[in-house]
Amino acid sequence: MKLRHTLGVLGAALFATMAISPVASAQAMVKMDGSSTVFPIAEAVAEEFQLSKRGKVRVTVGISGTGGGFKQFCRGETDISNASRPILKEEMEACRKAGVRYTELPVAFDALTVVVNPKNTWVKSLTIADLRKMWEPSAQGRVVRWNQVRPEWPAEPLALFGPGADSGTFDYFTEAVNGKSKASRGDFAASEDDNVIVQGVESNRNALGYFGYAYYVENKERVRAVPIVNQAGKPVAPSIEAVIDGSYEPMSRPLFIYVSEAAAKRPEVRELIEFYLTEGPALAQEVGYVPLPDDAYRLALKHFQDKKLGTVFGGTPEVGVTIDDLLAREGKL
């Protein structure tokens, strides 16, 4: 008897589970997804925005990666897509087919930071040519000692650490150093978790690695950032000032959000974007990113309010674009 009762309850519950129809939630909800690099900023904005609305608007943030985020975005599943690189040609095509139109808004800078062990006494600065010697695909198995990069450096083994091939950081670094996105030697210790790279460089005197600025800010005692020689021939260490004045190049890159045109018609999305572009600078800095100049946020907000659609990159990755140049360009869908 008891058993039959239990089975009955389980059966009813099972039926209810299967038969439930998707009901639209009564409460306003904004969905963001995409890059894990942009996630800390998006999370901070979502948290503060919900507090300011006293829970009347719900915001969710996922981390599917820049590419995974665009896949969902172009199917119309998300309202805002976080991206650590501009949208690519195939993704533009997918969005166009699905009729998803969007506004591209820069929200902060990230500075790719090249780090070495604090006990490393020989590296004072690095040129892009040095980095290319270490990281180009043909260096695989061949460049294994520091003195192969510059003869005055010691004949110590060169231990390289970097992010895995799915990361936007990897894409940007390879583009900036080797001239082609994703072109890199394969024999380095790759990890999707940047903390692993920090640990690797910290524990090996001969190590060199790279990751986003936020990870360097939190680990300044454990690793040393190497100044990068810019096009003007001046070695510049990563810092908020150097990124804003444009001297830390080509290693600083803008981060973006893409807002769908359909979602932007909803008041809660519009309010969130306005909040993002006004409160975002302080929040971005708090979580270890470099805010854009104030004018850039004002201009971005104007672009959003004027419904300026499309990307200014035309679907190809670019290195070393200044923020003024970026905001002055005409968008393309």
């Binding site: 099972l14 589970t17 948290e47």
Partner: protein, 314 residues
Amino acid sequence: MSDNPAIATFLDPKLVRDGLSRRKVLDQVFVIVGLLVMLVCLAILAVLFIDLVRDGSERFTWDFFTNFASRRAERAGILAAWVGTTLIMIVTAVCAVPVGVAAAIYLEEYAPKNWFTAIIEINVTNLAGVPSIVYGLLALGLFVYQFDLGQSIAAAGLTLALLILPIVIVATREAIRSVPNAIREAAYGLGATRWEVTKDHVLPYSTGGILTGMILGLSRAIGETAPIITIGALSFIAFLPESPFTSEFPFISFGWLNDPFTAMPIQMFNWVSRPDPAFQSNAAAAGAILLGMTLLMNGVAIWIRYRYRKKINW
């Protein structure tokens, strides 16, 4: 005494005694080796648990359970994660257990022994070894898009239910098989039908084993990250799913099934990869709590099994 030297040796009391004591020593050695192996396993678990508890000690506050995720490590909590995990486990159990137990009953008590049954059995056993990410991909296509469940608690629960179904089936079959055949034959002898035998004798006697299988399955499901990331669990979510209890008739609501969610392993994963080292203690605390949830589930199962065992009197 026999003339046969082999038998003579065998019967010699001194040799017999020597041989016996040597075998007893071997017996003791095995006991010690077995005990050591078990202690090593327990020690690893204990070290892991103590390490997590120590790293996360400053986070074990009431606020940690009642706060949502935050960019500030000391303000961040696991409310959305533990509620999400609990609800997903409920859906998983409600879906996997009846189906799994019914399948096992069919295979053990009803299915004719032919090639078709053999194929099903081989498949069930093989399914238990399929990597969980494969279930995630299947669920993404089937539940999220085909059935249009979206990135919801229902989709996650069903995914994990699929994942643990083979475990539940295999464990239930073992439990059913351990019921002595004499019980079945006696019942048949008194004119009981097959369903009556199953319902009144086989199932009550195998409940303990079935529950063990169910808990083994759920313990695996609770820590799974890959399949629920695949179907789209979120990383930041600062609201709870709809409450299952309402103030109006019928007082119960299933709206939460369609709500977006996050889960404990995802929250941990997210914290581990944060730049701010303060999040590492959050991750450790969440890990200790997840381990605690698993131990609690196991504890409940052991208690239920003990109660059922007491009722069995053959």
